[in-house]
């Protein structure tokens, strides 16, 4: 947060925090890391502000798409796993070092 972020509006419960502040708090909100008061302020703002709701929805959509990138075709030339010869060499090394 910098000094550029405007002060909240006193007495206006839906705008105790304003859009520019809310967008900076959304990961803390999603990770459940806000204290109860601030969490409530953010939730009130989201109830009243369709744009910030949309922003939040798009942020969560982005993260859920990221979680599935792994399942979509790998980049060109990528292999699915280590070559079997490498796996075997690692297992042998493990055996030499750790098997009593």
């Amino acid at each position: 947060m910098t000094g550029q972020v405007p002060e909240p509006y006193p007495g206006d419960s839906a705008h105790r925090v304003i859009c520019q502040q809310v967008v900076e708090l959304l990961t803390d909100y999603l990770e459940d890391a806000l204290d109860a008061d601030l969490r409530q302020d953010v939730e009130r703002h989201l109830d009243a502000c369709p744009e910030c709701r949309l922003f939040l929805g798009q942020l969560t959509l982005s993260t859920s798409l990221l979680a599935s990138t792994d399942d979509v075709v790998s980049p060109l030339g990528a292999t699915d796993s280590l070559p079997e010869s490498t796996v075997q060499a690692l297992v042998d090394r493990f055996g030499d070092l750790l098997t009593p």
Binding site: Q58, D70, L82, L90, F94
Partner: protein, 224 residues
């Protein structure tokens, strides 16, 4: 691969006892995902394989010193992140901070998208820059969007890339990522937020055709 605490204790005991079958199983099961992690940090398939191989060697040599305070997989990924970072630096693949750092200081979202101080609604979205719905097609991950996301990840500053990849692609908790990278959980969330906002911006640009920056420039030109 999610393991319960009991499974994890069993796994650790087997590894410490030198159970080669268990070791072979986790190398086969975990390496594909670890390769995908490594690819975001190094260029070339051979380098990615080297990183994963070096990680497993680190596991073999370090298992006797590992105290089991975190899950085995969390610990393995801490070694992996370290190896990938080291190799990425050698490869000069790491994008210089200055070329991708925010131009607007601590804010993740461009402050020009909000009404400036002095206006009654200072800090609220400018109408022409407010988020717009992406439509139903955005719910589906196409190969094209997956490529776009990979590019988005690749252009993040290294720390943000590590945090986002571990948290959002590989599904570790913020606390686990903090442990893996030796950061405070609060810092992990700050880096994660900046990275997520940037990824969202890549998608916004893709789904809108014209991005918010262009719309802002247009509206500023029209109003002057």
């Amino acid at each position: 691969v999610i393991t319960s605490d009991t499974d994890d204790r069993v796994l650790l005991a087997q590894l410490r006892a030198g159970d080669t079958q268990t070791f072979a199983r986790i190398v086969r099961e975990w390496s594909p995902q670890m390769l995908r992690f490594a690819r975001t940090f190094v260029s070339g398939e051979a380098a990615a394989q080297d990183v994963v191989q070096e990680t497993w060697i680190g596991v073999i040599t370090g298992i006797s010193r590992f105290e089991g305070r975190s899950q085995v997989r969390t610990w393995v990924y801490a070694i992996l992140a370290n190896q990938a970072r080291r190799r990425g630096q050698n490869d000069h693949r790491t994008v210089p901070m200055s070329s991708v750092a925010n131009t607007w200081g601590e804010q993740s979202v461009d402050p020009d998208r909000f009404l400036p101080s002095g206006e009654y609604w200072a800090g609220a979205w400018r109408q022409e820059c407010a988020p717009v719905s992406w439509g139903p097609e955005a719910q589906i991950l196409s190969a094209e969007v997956a490529d776009l996301l990979r590019t988005a990840i690749a252009t993040l500053p290294p720390r943000q890339r590590e945090v986002l990849t571990l948290r959002d692609v590989h599904g570790f908790s913020s606390e686990e990522v903090a442990e893996q990278l030796g950061l405070a959980t609060g810092n992990v969330r700050v880096l994660l937020h900046r990275a997520r906002v940037k990824v969202r911006e890549h998608l916004e640009e893709y789904y809108h055709g014209s991005n918010a920056g262009d719309r802002l420039e247009l509206s500023l030109r029209e109003s002057s």
